[in-house]
């Protein structure tokens, strides 16, 4: 079906790339893109990197493709609800947009600091949107005496790197034993911790902030078990929650962990049945991954938003039976403290890691993750060109560790990866 009306909820990476794929595949009907942010789709990865350092102005991040897309833009207009049977969206401006097919691409938002009164103190920031980055950059320009970052995940660590580069004192607090432990485990995370400390970051691992204090503006953080950290700017980097609240009452299988969908990107109802005409892609989508035993996964990866949106577009136009189950190999990058970190596959549940090329001593290495004797993921640190060789072994679930026996390389010694036993926070 290449005519009629398609509405896209969420005007960011997945929404834009989905819209482009619809047009590229011959959709000639009416295309409406609804976004709650006032901005046309922009790129988020630079926000925690070169936008915070002031090298890229926040507004420069608008994505290519926005200009040429033939679509009606409803920006600055949140979708408030989905009338599933009436096939329409309710918008915050009182409008109602009817659709024949809908692509849900409302992504995720920063998990807020759990105490709302404390979260409202001046100087407490989260980092997800262009406006967040603008506000945070303005706070940094006032040269706070110390910046406290809550959470040593990717965004917390990238922010720490950028803010250190501005010459500001930075403390990072995380209950985990290493930064990035949820995604990479404490072996690789421990290496990153060394780089953070070398850059002058005060890294407090195994520590937890219980309260933020100050009157009107934040002044200090209270630590579990006593002790305080004086800081006049706080970045809350505690992960993301999916933007599914607006779907409440529509009878879909959706919660803060995502909107469930099938391999054709069709949204599932509360009974797990695909809903005709309603699709999802990007950070909001929780889908069964065929490479990982069809375990439901919700990714927060740029590459997934692009690939899954294109997949959803094909399923929307040619029918869900015409596409293979979506099974793009998960991939992401991060840059921080002079390190370029790239990852393929999913480390979750891995029981072993082995450094198979290079060495942390030289600052360039490639680590492979295994689960029950099979290769499930690979991570390169300043060694991106070695990574593509592991794509095949991960896809095939090759014996772990794969690709041994390089002439100049000692046999890799697998060790426990130090991943959290349960899903990472």
């Amino acid at each position: 079906m290449r005519d009629g009306t398609i509405v896209i909820a969420g005007a960011s990476l997945a929404g834009l790339r989905g819209a482009e794929a619809l047009r590229a595949n011959g959709f000639t009907g009416r295309l409406v893109v609804v976004g709650d942010e006032p901005h046309p789709p922009y790129d988020r990865p630079p926000l925690s990197k070169h936008v915070l350092t002031g090298e890229i102005p926040p507004g420069a991040t608008t994505l290519p493709g926005v200009g040429a897309l033939r679509a009606e833009w409803r920006l600055g207009t949140p979708a408030l609800g989905l009338d599933r049977d009436g096939r329409a969206l309710h918008l915050a401006d009182g409008g109602r947009v009817a659709f024949d097919r809908l692509l849900i691409a409302t992504g995720a938002r920063a998990r807020p600091w759990p105490m709302p009164g404390e979260a409202r103190l001046a100087g407490v920031h989260t980092l997800r949107s262009r406006d967040d980055a603008t506000a945070l950059a303005a706070g940094l320009a006032a040269r706070p005496g110390r910046v406290l970052i809550l959470g040593a995940g990717f965004i917390g660590c990238e922010a720490a790197s950028s803010i250190r580069a501005l010459g500001l004192p930075v403390t990072v607090v995380d209950p985990a034993p290493a930064p990035l432990a949820g995604a990479l485990g404490s072996v690789i995370g421990g290496f990153v911790a060394g780089r953070m400390e070398a850059a002058g970051v005060d890294v407090r691992l195994g520590a937890r902030v219980t309260h933020l204090e100050g009157d009107r503006a934040v002044r200090r953080a209270r630590l579990e078990g006593g002790g305080t950290i004086e800081a006049d700017l706080v970045v809350v980097a505690l992960g993301a929650v999916r933007n599914t609240g607006w779907l409440a009452g529509a009878g879909l299988d959706a919660d803060e962990g995502g909107l469930s969908c099938d391999g054709a990107c069709r949204a599932l109802d509360a009974a797990g049945r695909p809903v005709p005409g309603i699709f999802a892609a990007g950070d909001v989508a929780r889908f069964p991954h065929p490479l990982y035993g069809n375990r439901p996964v919700a990714l927060e990866h740029w590459g997934n938003a692009v690939a899954q949106a294109a997949h959803a577009a094909r399923a929307m136009l040619d029918g869900p039976d015409s596409v293979e189950p979506y099974g793009e190999l998960p991939a992401f990058w991060s840059s921080q403290f002079g390190l370029n970190i790239k990852s393929l596959g999913l480390t979750e549940g891995a029981d072993a890691v082995a450094i198979v090329q290079g060495s942390p001593r030289t600052g360039r290495f490639l680590a492979v993750y295994g689960r029950a004797g099979r290769t499930v993921a690979a991570v390169s640190v300043n060694a991106g060109r070695w990574l593509p060789a592991y794509e095949g072994p991960i896809r095939d679930g090759a014996l772990f560790p794969p690709i041994t026996g390089g002439a100049d390389q000692p046999r890799p010694e697998p060790m426990p990866p130090g991943l959290p036993a349960h899903e990472a926070a």
Binding site: V32, D43, G59, P64, E72, S335
Partner: protein, 102 residues
């Protein structure tokens, strides 16, 4: 962002933030839109030779690029797109008009 950022003509950020998506021009100026798929990028640095003002490698392999170069840099940015051995760079030259809601 890049070394000559301050010297590069008008502030792309400010213009982009205030203009609706169907307007690429402000007082005769326009900007390209650039994004690099950094999963795909292998830090071959060909783009950095082709358009050194807009693409730089930092450290061993961190590519930093200007996502909104001025239109006057078009030839160099096009060379970078062509030079990339893994076709990781995407550019849009000028915001074309889009339909507007009625």
């Amino acid at each position: 962002m890049l070394p000559d950022r301050a010297a590069a003509s008008p502030e792309p950020g400010r213009a982009a933030a205030v203009l609706p998506p169907d307007t690429g021009k402000l007082a005769g100026e326009s900007w390209m839109r650039v994004v690099v798929d950094l999963n795909r990028c292998q830090a071959y640095a060909q783009c950095c030779y082709a358009a050194p003002e807009r693409f730089v490698l930092r450290g061993d392999e961190i590519l930093v690029y200007d996502p909104a170069p001025p239109a006057s840099d078009r030839a160099a940015v096009d060379r970078a797109v062509q030079a990339c051995p893994v076709r990781a760079i995407r550019v849009e030259h000028e915001d074309a008009p889009t339909e507007r809601p009625a």
